[in-house]
Symmetry: C3
Subunit: 271 residues, 3 copies
């Protein structure tokens, strides 16, 4: 049903940018729709409005005429994950409302990845932190530069969506997920988080050459291939997502989280 609701969205023409914030840039060319984090001065941290734009871009891409969809980052970072100001730009009286809205937004955001019907590729051009790491299990292909590292911090403000990883990658990645160990691209590949690692010097060239070849494959066949592979796990992933977002909503209202927030705000106000 999600794709129908975006049927009024005009398919993106070649090189045409979507309207709205430039923190997310969506382009479509040569059969590839590219969704790019574009907040390089903030390490591509994801704000509340960027979550909404990505959901919108994924829904539009699922019905446009592209064969595959790519997510990548502009600048040095892939993305540093959730922007902590999402928690702090809140009137003190509405904390419970904010936690509830945050939980709903996170659920919709992850659902958009679970439901995405075309091959979805992450081109990890720089460090990846937090939710963008734990989301990698919902991509079909993950290419990473060999200079990249992956991290899921232990901060109570940055906890999210860890079970979204397909279960098979939880076990080998447990040292990162539970103990916050930073993984190199090679380590992430050995643990199943990354499909293939390329040398930084030729990363963009090699990756886009391969992606352009994939984009020439028949769109409908790609869609059916993905459906045959993924349809079986969708229902379970949606259930896990719903449950986890409820748990996180409670966590965000915990004393531990409130204290961490106050420390963060206090440090910010002293700058």
């Amino acid at each position: 049903p999600s794709s129908e609701s975006s049927s009024q969205v005009k398919p993106a023409a070649a090189n045409e940018k979507q309207p709205g914030s430039e923190n997310i840039i969506v382009t479509s060319q040569d059969g590839i729709t590219k969704i790019m984090f574009n907040r390089p001065t903030k390490k591509n941290a994801i704000t509340t409005s960027m979550y909404k734009e990505i959901i919108h871009a994924l829904k539009a891409a699922s019905t446009d005429n592209s064969a595959i969809t790519v997510i990548t980052g502009n600048g040095d970072y892939y993305s540093s994950g959730n922007d902590l100001t999402n928690f702090t730009d809140v009137r003190p009286t509405s904390i419970e409302e904010t936690a509830k809205n945050g939980s709903i937004l996170l659920r919709d955001f992850v659902d958009a990845f679970i439901d995405f019907p075309k091959p979805l590729v992450a081109v990890v051009n720089g460090p990846a932190v937090g939710i963008v790491v734990t989301l990698l299990g919902l991509f079909d292909v993950v290419y990473a530069s060999d200079k990249v590292n992956f991290n899921t911090p232990l901060s109570p403000l940055d906890r999210s969506s860890k079970q979204k990883l397909n279960k098979e990658t939880i076990e080998p990645a447990a040292e990162m997920l539970i103990l916050g160990r930073k993984l190199t691209a090679g380590e992430a590949c050995a643990r199943g988080l990354v499909t293939e690692v390329f040398p930084e010097s030729t990363f963009q060239k090699e990756v886009w050459t391969r992606l352009k070849a994939y984009a020439k494959l028949p769109t409908n066949s790609l869609r059916i291939s993905k459906e045959l592979i993924r349809s079986n796990e969708k229902e379970k992933l949606h259930a896990v997502n719903a449950e986890e977002c409820t748990v996180l909503q409670g966590r965000w209202l915990s004393e531990e989280c409130m204290n961490a927030l106050m420390n963060f705000v206090s440090r910010k106000s002293k700058l």
Copy 2:
């Protein structure tokens, strides 16, 4: 129940060949029953009658006195997968019947692998394509020569059984399964499709030395070991298999598939 129904099958004696078509050769020696694709001039493509012979051979092997069972190919190929003439050697009036029979046969074929009670080893001597790749998840051990590659084409005629792979190997192999990327033996090993890769020059010698050692282990212990490991997943695998065969039966009757078939027949008739 499937093994009981074959209890009247005579256990294969040493080096005795099964009666019937020589496209599948079954031999039993030194505790090893070997089922070999033997259609080297057709890249060991699997015809409808070969599917039936393999089902029969697996049922016989499950009650013969061998300790382990090996599947391999004769000549340059392991197997190029489903023989497309299975679709085209059909009277135009009976397409729906053919799709239904094909679906039942595929289901029985995969069920025979799910239920096989002894250690099952694939000796991948050459390229593997389509269903013989997606079946690898149902083997206990997969040895491959380093010259081999693995491929699951996007052709609508060659789509089958992709979810039969144990789920844990879907994620890392998604680039092959969804985008049709050919994997080297090393890449297939890193993604969990292959247990171990051997140099081509010593492949046959090393592999059969190891298999002969396994074949001396107590048959009953091997059977119980496999049961302890695999019994938990059987029920789920049968359910996935049944569901997928139903989906495929529908796909085979789709316009996309019919057009691909007509193109195939038309190209063939022009040769």
Copy 3:
């Protein structure tokens, strides 16, 4: 509930040893509780009383003030697995009772690992055999020396708990689990059983440096991280454990197992 029942246990002070048998030594220092197999002259084989002590030590560690818990072995071995005298030190009239008690003990033992609420690390200092190998899937991190190998023998007396491995590691490890192949540390790492392999010469130094750094992380954050990752799979693991212990109880009373026991006793009495 298991952690509540141990609330009367005094948290272990630095370097304080738990009372009772010295076959298991428990120490707590620098935020790390270390549970060490200490039966080096018997290759750290696990007796019935050691199983009970480990259950007790895990329950105590789950409420002490340590951040992480480590299991390791003293001497050349990590552990050679179940001590076969657990089966033979039995009055002939009470074999069924022994099988029943053994099944209950094994179930409680594995449940203690499934429920353990803090990061659990295996420091595999030497060869690992049988149940200590199949338990590795319930650890969050497994470090191994490169001189170590892993083995799950086919002996009917040594069969246990093979499905306790998280499912994702069954497939790549099937050659070991079903055919009893000994794996090197590197092979075990490639198959997802081991997180990281270190050179023997620097193993202890490198591993404990890293563990001491982890032990400085906030205890509560580690606990919540583990809960977010693992809570989803607990229920299923308990169900698999219960079912398997029932199956094993039956196996231990089988003719095959009785014969193996008599051979073992007979060999022992001739020494």
